[in-house]
Amino acid sequence: MTMKLAEALKVVQSVRSHAPPLQVALLCGFTPLHLETFLRAHLSKLFPGRAPNVQTGLYGDLIGNLQRVAGVSAAVVVIEWPDLDPRLGLRRLGGWEPSQLRDILGEVNRSRDLLQSSMAAVAANTPLVVCFPTLPLVPLSFTALSRASEFTLELRSRVASFSAALSHLPGIRIADPQRLDGLSSSRRLDVNSDLSAGFPYTLPHASALAEVLAGLVLNPPPKKGLITDLDDTLWRGILGEVGVQGISWDLDNHSQIHALYQQLLHSLAASGTLIAVASKNDLSLVKEAFAARDPILREADIFPFEVHWGAKSESVARILHAWNISAEDVVCVDDSPMDLAEIKAAHTGAECVLFPRENPQAAYDLLERLRDWFGKDKISQEDGLRAASLRANAELQHDIKQESPGALSDFFRQIDGKLTLSSQKQPLDSRSLELVNKTNQFNLNGRRFQEAEWQNWLNAPDAVFLTVSYRDKYGPLGKIAVIAGDLLDGVNVNGATTDSSGKRQLCIRTWVMSCRAFSRLIEYECIRWLFAKLDVDELEFDFLPTARNTPMQNFLRQVRNAPAEPHCRLSRAQFLQGCPTSSHVVEESPNG
């Protein structure tokens, strides 16, 4: 059910004016009219703490609008057929005779080239959402409507190639026509409105389109983990009743939907989503089922297994502890409404969804929802390492417990810890920004950034940027830490003296480290490198306490021998006095 215009206006009118603004450009060649209203309304619903402000451009000048865009967190480009050639619209009369069709294709090519270069230029600094024509083509070809003409097929093929080429550019997100089809199935073109006001969409279509576009403006962070039940969820049948050979996931046993569910979970695991099992079952039987029946979701995809007869909520608590994430980051799938209710009561933030075992259509809809919850822009190297490194981390923690506190440095030397540091600022590294925006515990101040804001800061000459990757004998952890700050050479950016001693300072404004990298003394190595490599005398920490950054507070207290507080400082001498001896090999990335 799409949002109605009356509802959209009420949503827009109810936005708190003092909320932090969210500046978004809506760039199109037609009058944006209700699309602007719907976009603001959907953005307001998606980002309730923000006050969306949608800037629009000039009618009929999509290229110019692209060239003028500035100072926004994201830009949305809606291309319709007349933007590729005015003869493909209703408001200009250039002729629809057959002799013009070849010329229209040529004009479409010219518009495509111009649009592509303009959009690439915008996307270099601003996240760009792009939507290709959503309206039906005007009846300009000479064939009957049911028959696709060579012209229309060629035209659509060029647009498809155009969108595929754009999708390779960093910073560009293309709206999926299939998603729009699902939301906007009624008539899309409003001839009256196009002719009288230059707004070509029916209200339901404008609403659906705005919903899709708003969802792409600032990608909500994906969920991190999925906790699944086994019986009548991962497979059909109750293992304890029908035995290992009685469970199924295939067409013959009318249980194919369970195979599709497994296939999706296997794909999610390969994309870096954490998968765990919480099942009231006999562990030895479950192990036997995985070994003997070779499910599509492999045993290696799953960590941890919580298989026993205890409460599911306790299983979920242990899984969250093993993953070191909060309930808000997980989805629990189970065929038992009672178990889901019990989990939800203990972990209110978790998404608890029923696996509709008797209804394949509803189960298929669930697969789509799961894909949406766990959707990512791209798969990073770290995504492929996540489950393995969690498993290895459990092993590491076990080994650490066997060591005496004084021997920890020796222990870390023995595990061949190696840090790779990079200070390369370009091109924008989406993994770094993801770490900054997702990390809660070892986080200096909880500050989050939008892509454009992050990139603009790092581009400043005095901005220091450091990413840290790590591996040891337990395996690689990938990129696990990001530090960013500003160098102050005794004077601040306004030219005023910051410190009478003229000390060279680094003000660290952002510092995050993945919880997977805890307990390895990596944070000390980072500080050691900053003092040595940047030749600074003092670090200032733009620290703010948050509800969840206790690990950062503990570290600052330990290294400074004083409680963490906003703008607290650490001198080189103070650090060297209390830091543990270096226990890792540190190398700088060849790329800088």
Binding site: K4, L5, A6, L9, K10, Q13, L33, H34, T37, N192, S193, L195, S196, A197, F199, L203
Partner: protein, 82 residues
């Protein structure tokens, strides 16, 4: 008929949130500064959505007051009912 008037008042209240509901029945394009062409399009779109009707551009040009719009919607509704 009273129901049509009340639904129309709601459309006006959504398009012109600054208006006191009691002022709405007497409002016209001439008396309300914020009723410009853009607000007029939004108002008529709200009415089309609310009453599930289509207002032709020729008719739209004459719909410049609450009273005229109320008559127009009543006429369309009674034609549909016939």
């Amino acid at each position: 008929m009273a129901e049509i008037e009340s639904r129309l008042v709601n459309c006006f209240a959504t398009a012109f949130p600054e208006l006191d509901p009691q002022e709405i029945p007497s409002v016209s394009m001439g008396s309300l500064a914020s009723w410009d062409s853009l607000a007029g399009i939004t108002l008529l779109s709200l009415i089309e959505e609310e009453f599930d009707i289509s207002i032709s551009p020729d008719d739209a040009a004459g719909l410049v007051s609450f009273e005229l719009i109320l008559d127009y919607v009543r006429r369309l509704s009674s034609e549909v009912a016939k």
